[in-house]
C-alpha cells in the first residue's frame, strides 16, 4: 500500500502526548528505583526496607519467587522500553507507546503488590496467586488492547489519508461538496448493520477458536505455578520459573533438544531433496501411462494410517522380520531388532518417513514443473543446451519459488517433530536417540501427570518454534520475495 508509506503531517497535539509518554516512562523507572522507599511509606515492613529495586530485578526477593527473575518484570521492562523508544523516535505511533507505558507501570505495581504481600502474607486470600492472576490478566488484556490499537491506528491512518485525498481531489476539481467522509466509528456501525449476517456465519468458528485455541493459551499459565486440580489454573501455588529451571538442569533438556534437532535435520536432508528428484525423473518419462502407474503406486503409502504403518514397521524390524531377512542376504549373521537399538532409531524413522511421503510430496513439485513455460525449453534447445543443462538452467530456476517456500516451512518446524509417530515407535531401549521434546512433554504430562512441568517444557518449545517460523519467513521475504504472510 503506497498510501501508508507517505508520511502524514503530524497532527496538532502530538507533542504533548509524546512528552506525556516520556514522563510516564520516567516515572515508572523512578518508581522502580525508589521501590523500597515507596514500600516503606505504604507498608512499614522491615523486609521491604531492605530490598532495593535491583534486588527485585534480580529476583532476589523473599517468598516463593526467590532466585528467579519475575516474568512480569521481564515483560514490563521489554514493553516499557519499547514504549519509550517508540515515543522517542516514532511519535506518530503514540497510542502504542501509551499502552506500553501503562503496561509497564501496572506491571511494576502488580509486582510490588505481589512481592510485598507474598512476603508478609498480609492479604486474606492466597496472596501470591491472586496477585499473579490479576497481574497476568491485566498484562494479557493490555497486550490484546495493544494489538487492537495498532491495527486500529493503521486503519485510521488510511481513513485520514482517504479523507485528505478526497478533499484534495475536490479542491483540484474546484468542487464544493457537502459530502463528508465518515469517521471510523460510523463505518463500523454501518458495516455491522449491513454485514451482521456474515458475522453471524463466522461466529461459531470464532467461538471455536476462542475456546479450543485461545483457551489452551490461557492455560499456559500453569507452567508458572504448581498446578493442582483443586486450585485450578489460576488458584495454584505460584512458582515462577522453577519448572523451566528444573528442565534445563536435568539431563533431559540436552537429550531431547539434541534428538529433536537431529531427527529434523536428517529428515530435512533426506526427505526434502528426494521428492524433487522424483518429480524431475517423473517429468522426464515419456510414457504417460507408465508415469500414471508410478504416480499412483508411489502416492499410495501416504494413505496407510500411521498406526498401521508403525505396526508393519515394528514387525519388519523385529529379529525375525523382513529387514532381518534382508540383512541376512547381505551376510549379517545375527540381525538385531532395529527398533530395540538406539543406534538405528533415526534411520528407521527417517527411512519410513521417506517411504510414506516421497511420492506424495512430489505432487507439488510436479505441478510446479507443469507450470514452467515450455517455450523456455525450446529456446534452450535451440541454443544448444542438452538435457542436463536444460534441467540446470530452466527447470531448477522454475522450481525455485516452490522449493524456497517449502524449505522455509520445513525450517520453521525444525523444533516441531511430532510425537504421534515416535510414541508409536519408541521404547525404553531407544529413548537415548528417540526421545524428542514433544514426546517428553507427552510422557511427563499425560503419563506422569506432571502437568505444570510438561506445560513449561512445551511452552519453551512453542516459543522457539514460533521464533523459528518468524525468522524463516523474514529470511524468505528478504531472499526470495516469497513469504507466508
Amino acid at each position: 500500500m503506497t498510501a501508508a508509506k507517505t508520511t502524514r503531517s503530524s497532527p496538532a497535539g502530538s507533542d504533548w502526548k509524546r512528552i506525556a509518554i516520556i514522563v510516564l516512562c520516567a516515572m515508572t523507572l523512578l518508581t522502580l528505583i525508589f521501590l523500597p522507599q515507596l514500600n516503606a511509606v505504604n507498608r512499614k515492613t522491615d523486609e521491604a526496607l531492605t530490598l532495593s529495586g535491583l534486588d527485585f530485578l534480580r529476583g532476589n526477593t523473599p517468598g516463593k519467587s526467590e532466585g528467579s527473575m519475575h516474568p512480569m518484570i521481564i515483560g514490563a521492562i521489554i514493553f516499557g522500553l519499547m514504549g519509550l523508544l517508540v515515543a522517542l523516535f516514532r511519535p506518530d505511533k503514540f497510542l502504542y507507546s501509551i499502552v506500553s507505558a501503562i503496561f509497564l507501570i501496572v506491571s511494576v505495581f502488580m509486582f510490588r503488590f505481589d512481592v510485598t504481600y507474598q512476603a508478609k502474607g498480609e492479604f486474606g486470600l492466597d496472596a501470591n496467586s491472586l496477585a499473579f492472576t490479576v497481574g497476568w490478566m491485566i498484562a494479557m488484556g493490555l497486550s490484546v488492547v495493544n494489538l487492537i490499537v495498532v491495527i486500529w491506528r493503521k486503519r485510521q491512518r488510511t481513513m485520514v489519508l482517504r479523507r485528505e485525498n478526497l478533499a484534495a481531489t475536490y479542491a483540484r476539481a474546484d468542487i464544493k461538496s457537502t459530502y463528508r467522509v465518515p469517521t471510523t466509528w460510523e463505518i463500523i456501525k454501518k458495516d455491522f448493520a449491513k454485514h451482521w449476517p456474515i458475522y453471524l456465519l463466522i461466529l461459531p468458528t470464532i467461538i471455536f477458536y476462542v475456546i479450543w485455541c485461545y483457551g489452551p493459551m490461557y492455560g499456559i499459565l500453569i507452567s508458572f505455578n504448581n498446578y493442582k486440580a483443586k486450585g485450578g489454573i489460576t488458584g495454584s501455588e505460584w512458582v515462577g520459573l522453577q519448572w523451566f529451571r528444573d528442565f534445563f538442569r536435568s539431563a533431559y533438556a540436552y537429550r531431547t533438544i539434541r534428538n529433536t534437532l537431529l531427527i529434523s535435520f536428517w529428515n530435512l536432508v533426506v526427505g526434502f531433496p528426494a521428492p524433487i528428484i522424483l518429480a524431475l525423473l517423473l517429468n522426464e518419462m515419456r510414457s504417460i501411462k507408465y508415469k500414471r502407474v508410478v504416480q499412483t503406486i508411489t502416492y499410495m503409502p501416504y494413505f496407510i494410517s500411521l498406526v498401521v504403518m508403525c505396526g508393519i514397521l515394528t514387525d519388519f524390524c523385529s529379529t525375525t522380520g523382513l529387514f532381518a531377512e534382508i540383512q541376512k542376504l547381505f551376510g549379517v549373521q545375527s540381525p538385531v531388532n532395529l527398533l530395540g537399538d538406539a543406534k538405528y532409531f533415526r534411520t528407521v524413522y527417517v527411512g519410513s518417513e521417506l517411504w510414506q511421503r516421497l511420492g506424495w510430496d512430489s505432487i507439488i513439485f510436479l505441478s510446479a514443473l507443469a507450470g514452467i513455460d515450455q517455450e523456455q525449453y525450446e529456446a534452450a534447445t535451440i541454443d544448444g543446451a542438452g538435457k542436463f543443462k536444460q534441467v540446470l538452467h530452466v527447470t531448477l530456476p522454475g522450481l525455485l519459488p516452490t522449493i524456497s517456500i517449502l524449505l522455509i516451512l520445513r525450517i520453521g518446524s525444525l523444533m516441531g517433530v511430532g510425537y504421534e509417530k515416535i510414541i508409536l515407535l519408541y521404547n525404553g531401549l531407544t529413548y537415548e536417540t528417540a526421545d524428542v521434546v514433544s514426546t517428553y512433554v507427552y510422557r511427563k504430562g499425560i503419563v506422569d501427570a506432571n502437568f505444570s512441568f510438561s506445560t513449561a517444557v512445551n511452552l519453551f518449545n512453542s516459543v522457539i518454534n514460533f521464533m523459528l517460523v518468524i525468522f524463516a519467513n523474514r529470511m524468505s521475504a528478504v531472499l526470495t520475495e516469497n513469504s507466508l504472510w
Binding site: H195, L201, P216, I363, G371
Partner: protein
C-alpha cells in the same frame, strides 16, 4: 506468490533421435521407477501374503516371500472377525467420520464464506486472529485440561468438538470462495437472496470441487485419528478403529485370542502373528480400495493447498 498454474503438459511432438546418453538415462529412469514401485508395494504385498499363509509354517520360517507359505487359509481373518473390538472400532470410526466431517464442513464453509466477503470491516482482523493459531498453540496439557474442564473426557463430543475446524482447510476454502465472481452474489442479492441462501445455493455448488477435496481431507484425518482419542477416552466402547489397531499391533494385546476358545495355548504365539497381519489388511483395505478412485481429488487438494490463501 507462487501460484501454481496448472497447464496441460505440452511436449514438442517432433521426436528427435536420442543421443546415447539420453537413451541410457531413459533406461535408468524406467528401471529406477520400477524398483521404486516395488519398494512401495512390497511391504503391503508381504503382509497380504503372510495373512493367508499357514500360521505354523509362517511362524517357523518367514523370509522374503513372494507367495503364501503352505496351504492358503483364512483362519486369521476368521479370528479377526470374531474379535468384537474390531467391528466396534469400525462403527466408532464411522460415527466420528460422518458426524465429525459434517461438523467440520459446516463450520469451515460458513466461516470461509463469511471471511471471503470483501468490504467487511472486521474480516482482516478475524483472519489474523485465526491464522495466529497456526503458529502458536497452547500445547498438549492445557488442551487436555480445557477438554477436561468442559467435562468432555470420554465422550464422543470430546473427540469431535476440540478439532472442529482445521485452520489450513479453512484458508483453502476461503480462497476458493473468494475466487467466485462477485457478479453472481450481486445478482442473487438483487433477486432477494440472503447470505444463507447465497452460501448454500450458489457458493457451495460452485465450489463443489474444493468442498469435495476438503471433506476428503477431513474424512481421512478422522480415519487416521488416534492420538486425541487415546488421551481423552477411557472406555473401550468408544475407541475408534485406529486405537483398537494400536492395542493389537503395537501393544501386543492378545485379548482377541483369549476370547476365542478355538485356539490352544501353545498356538497362541503363532496365531498372534497371523492375526496381526490379517488385522492390518482388514484395516487398510477399505482405504486402499477407495483410494484409486479418489486419487485425483487428493492430488487436486495438494495443488489448491499450494496456492496461498
Amino acid at each position: 506468490m507462487n501460484t501454481v498454474v496448472r497447464k496441460k503438459k505440452h511436449r514438442p511432438k517432433s521426436r528427435k533421435l536420442m543421443t546415447r546418453g539420453e537413451k541410457a538415462f531413459e533406461i535408468f529412469n524406467y528401471v529406477f521407477m520400477a524398483i521404486l514401485c516395488v519398494i512401495c508395494l512390497y511391504p503391503l504385498w508381504y503382509v497380504l501374503v503372510c495373512s493367508v499363509s499357514d500360521p505354523i509354517e509362517l511362524y517357523a520360517q518367514r523370509g522374503i516371500m513372494a507367495w503364501p507359505l503352505g496351504t492358503w487359509s483364512v483362519r486369521g481373518y476368521r479370528l479377526v472377525m470374531e474379535n468384537p473390538n474390531i467391528p466396534i472400532g469400525f462403527r466408532n470410526t464411522l460415527i466420528y467420520m460422518v458426524i465429525g466431517t459434517l461438523v467440520n464442513m459446516f463450520l469451515t464453509t460458513t466461516a470461509a464464506y463469511g471471511l471471503s466477503r470483501k468490504n467487511c470491516y472486521w474480516n482482516g482482523f478475524i483472519m489474523k486472529f485465526i491464522a495466529f493459531t497456526m503458529y502458536f498453540q497452547g500445547g498438549l496439557i492445557p488442551f487436555y485440561l480445557q477438554v477436561k474442564s468442559f467435562n468432555l473426557l470420554d465422550t464422543y463430543s470430546g473427540i469431535i468438538l476440540p478439532v472442529a475446524v482445521n485452520t489450513w482447510n479453512l484458508v483453502v476454502m476461503r480462497t476458493s470462495f473468494a475466487a467466485i465472481p462477485d457478479s453472481l452474489e450481486e445478482s442473487a442479492r438483487l433477486d432477494g437472496a440472503n447470505d444463507w441462501t447465497i452460501l448454500w445455493r450458489i457458493f457451495f455448488p460452485l465450489a463443489q470441487a474444493t468442498v469435495a477435496v476438503i471433506s476428503l481431507f477431513y474424512a481421512v484425518t478422522w480415519w487416521n485419528n488416534w492420538f486425541n482419542p487415546s488421551i481423552f477416552l477411557s472406555s473401550k466402547s468408544k475407541y475408534p478403529l485406529q486405537l483398537v489397531l494400536r492395542e493389537i499391533l503395537l501393544k501386543n494385546d492378545t485379548s482377541a485370542m483369549t476370547q476365542v476358545g478355538s485356539v490352544g495355548q501353545s498356538q497362541q504365539e503363532q496365531f498372534r502373528m497371523l492375526v496381526k497381519y490379517c488385522t492390518i489388511i482388514v484395516a487398510t483395505v477399505p482405504i486402499l480400495v477407495v483410494y484409486p478412485f479418489l486419487q485425483r481429488y487428493f492430488v487436486k487438494g495438494v495443488m489448491i493447498g499450494s496456492i496461498k490463501g
